[in-house]
């Protein structure tokens, strides 16, 4: 079983956490990733910084700028990933970012680097199924999961196209909008997750706007995983190179809420 499959097969919902690679500096990222693991995160999303993060709100935009300002390169991201893999052989690591940095040296180059660094999956914000040839075949050939996004605008007719060629998990973006916005109404999330799970054979994780353990627990009652990003990135913004402690603390609270969300519910 792949590391990603295992993360969703622990008999409880999974906590997926996002931070931007190289924020505040490439060297500081290792301690922050370790804090996520120690706090109890099941899947780690490592953001690849981009100059033009069109799908991100102010918190993650600023994280991208801090990272690039500190000199983070694509090589540095893969170094961070490879070192993470050496320290944590079991924890799945996913790269999340935008098409241009992922494809600029060719999709095959990128897929090969992912394999070498022990990256399990890739989320590319601006490659929809219609442009799959840009990256999808190279990742699938290399055995790296292509994790696609579904959104409130992904209707019944589109969902099969989104699922086709996806693996690892499906990332349901609960709000039509950018990262860091307010969370969608819980009822709409419940409805969407039920609809998607009826067609999906892979786990469904829900993110965008999830900040607190209570919110995370509510989602974990219906979804296979909960993604938290901006709230953790805010802690990095606030504490800089000393962010590991606060990040671990929030992660632990989120993990406790997510992991126990269904206890006693059945």
């Amino acid at each position: 079983m792949s590391r990603l499959a295992q993360a969703f097969a622990k008999g409880r919902p999974a906590l997926v956490t996002f931070v931007t690679g190289g924020d505040p500096t490439p060297d500081a990222t290792a301690s922050i990733l370790d804090a996520l693991v120690e706090g109890g995160a099941d899947v780690i999303e490592l953001g690849m910084p981009f100059t033009d993060p069109m799908a991100d709100g102010p918190a993650i935009q600023l994280a991208n700028l801090r990272s690039l300002g500190a000199g983070t390169t694509t090589a540095a991201i893969f170094r961070i990933a490879a070192e993470f893999r050496a320290r944590h052989p079991e924890v799945p690591l996913v790269l999340m970012g935008y098409a241009n940095p992922m494809t600029i040296r060719g999709a095959d180059w990128f897929a090969t680097e992912c394999v070498k660094a022990g990256v399990d999956g890739v989320i590319c914000v601006d490659i929809p199924p219609e442009e799959d040839p840009e990256l999808g075949p190279a990742l699938r050939d290399a055995g790296v999961s292509l994790i696609r996004l579904a959104t409130p605008t992904t209707d019944h007719a589109r969902l099969p196209a989104v699922l086709d060629g996806s693996s690892g998990f499906l990332y349901y973006v609960s709000v039509a909008g950018i990262t860091g916005m307010q969370q969608a109404a819980q009822a709409s999330i419940d409805e969407a997750v039920a609809r998607i799970k009826a067609s999906a054979t892979i786990p469904v994780a829900v993110g965008f706007g999830v900040r607190t353990p209570d919110q995370a627990a509510a989602i974990a009652r219906v979804a296979d995983g909960v993604v938290v990003g901006s709230a953790l990135v805010d802690l990095v913004a606030k504490h800089g190179t000393d962010a590991a402690g606060p990040v671990k603390e929030l992660t632990a609270a989120l993990a406790a809420a997510v992991h126990s969300a269904r206890k006693g519910a059945f």
Binding site: T51, P152, A176, G177
Partner: protein
């Protein structure tokens, strides 16, 4: 299934050594087996360029837009309303003007201008805005957003929003807000909300990022009027079609006035909408050469905004095209004296036309554009915008290498009122 035309047989224009008397004059009567006017394909691609690289949230909307645009394009009522507004509201057709004194001064080819600077709102941008707002209303959208660089597209968008009574939000880089103050005030007078964008260098690309962010969050009621022939499919095609009125008129006017086609078309390129609007109707006329002029800023070895000359193919703002970027694919900031050319990308159809060699592309510096700006003021009594001043600077170099009976047609796509403050500053004059 449409097929790509094979590599064209058109000779590349040797731009600075245009051999006297060697250019083919008149029309080549041999029929062209292939057309350069059939793209994009059904997936929105121009060769390897174009496409729909957008977040999933936008994808259903983009597909909807495409379907609705196809219907509108085939609907005579839509076309009639578009034509009517262009005639009575915008003031089309714009004149085709033979410029005698600049022709004499440069001492070579005859110089003609397509005078889109006489349009309502002072630039070609309004052509596209009229088309898109009609489409927005057809789709039942109730709120309009747009990005702007020089402010011309923002003004044109605010104008059509006022005309049709729709609320309008314009995203504009903070740097551009400062250097295009008159246009900011115009947009506000027209009832638009102007949102200064401070991310990045605060120029056009940052404004476009912010507009895309707004759009994803407001997909249900909002129509994004993109101002140039770039962005996800169908925008490059749609903007080109709306702007093609420039070239269609010019082709008819030139035939009426001179009985022949021009030898060379020249247009400035920011995202490439005025250029593709002029070029597209002539693409299948083999005798007509075309020159797109990018902004070389301080020089191609320094800061500039010439994506074709100094960039590589990449993915940004929904399409694959030439981009200014570093080796990791991080987008680098453009620079041009002209806010409307200060964009690190270019419309995908231009990337394709460059690669197949149908259109030639060159670039001129800030300084050359400033000189050309003054030349046109002095010789023709026309104050051009800094964007077409780039085209004029290229004409300045090209005309003397050509015969006196040859014809250059340049797109005078905007007037200079908006630029007088920044030109004064560059010339060391305080107003």
């Amino acid at each position: 299934m449409q097929h790509l035309p094979p590599a064209p047989k058109v000779r590349a224009l040797q731009i600075w050594t245009f051999p006297r008397g060697s250019a083919k004059r008149g029309r080549m009567n041999a029929p062209t087996p292939n057309s350069f006017r059939t793209l994009p394909d059904e997936r929105g691609h121009f060769g390897q360029f174009g496409g729909r690289y957008v977040a999933e949230t936008l994808m259903p909307l983009i597909l909807d837009l495409e379907a609705e645009y196809r219907k509108a394009k085939a609907d005579p009522a839509f076309q009639a309303e578009f034509d009517d507004l262009l005639e009575h509201y915008v003031g089309r057709p714009s004149p085709l003007y033979f410029a005698p004194r600049i022709t004499e001064e440069l001492g070579g080819a005859q110089i003609w201008f397509k005078r889109d600077e006489l349009n309502h709102t002072g630039a070609h941008k309004i052509n596209n805005c009229v088309g898109q707002i009609l489409l927005a209303m057809r789709m039942g959208k109730t709120r309009i957003i747009a990005e702007t660089g020089a402010g011309q597209h923002g003004v044109a968008t605010a104008t059509v929003c006022a005309r049709f009574g729709l609320p309008c939000v314009i995203f504009m880089g903070a740097t551009d807000v400062a250097r295009q103050a008159p246009n900011v005030f115009r947009m506000k007078l027209l009832g638009a909300e102007v949102v200064p964008v401070t991310a990045g260098a605060g120029t056009l690309k940052d404004a476009m990022n912010e507009a895309l962010r707004d759009w994803v969050a407001n997909v249900h009621n909002t129509f994004y009027i993109i101002g140039t022939a770039a962005g996800p499919h169908p925008y490059p095609e749609m903007v080109r079609d709306f702007q093609s009125v420039i070239g269609k008129e010019a082709r008819v006017q030139m035939m009426e006035r001179t009985g022949r086609l021009p030898d060379v078309l020249v247009a400035a390129i920011g995202g490439g909408s005025n250029a593709i609007g002029l070029f597209h109707p002539f693409l299948d006329d083999p005798s007509v050469k075309m020159l797109g002029v990018e902004a070389a800023g301080h020089g191609l070895d320094k800061e500039h905004a010439a994506s074709l000359a100094g960039g590589r193919p990449g993915i940004l703002h929904g399409n694959k095209t030439y981009l200014l970027q570093d080796e990791d694919g991080q987008i680098t900031e453009g620079h041009s004296i002209s806010a409307g050319l200060d964009y690190p990308g270019i419309g995908p159809e231009h990337s394709w036309l460059k690669e197949i060699g149908r259109v030639d592309y060159t670039s001129v510096t800030d300084k050359e554009a400033l000189n050309a700006f003054q030349l046109l003021c002095r010789t023709e009594g026309i104050i051009p915008a800094l964007e077409p001043a780039h085209a004029i600077a290229a004409v300045q170099k090209l005309a003397p290498t050509m015969d006196k009976d040859q014809i250059i047609l340049a797109n005078l796509c905007g007037r200079g009122d908006k630029d007088i403050f920044s030109v004064a500053e560059h010339l060391g004059v305080s107003l």
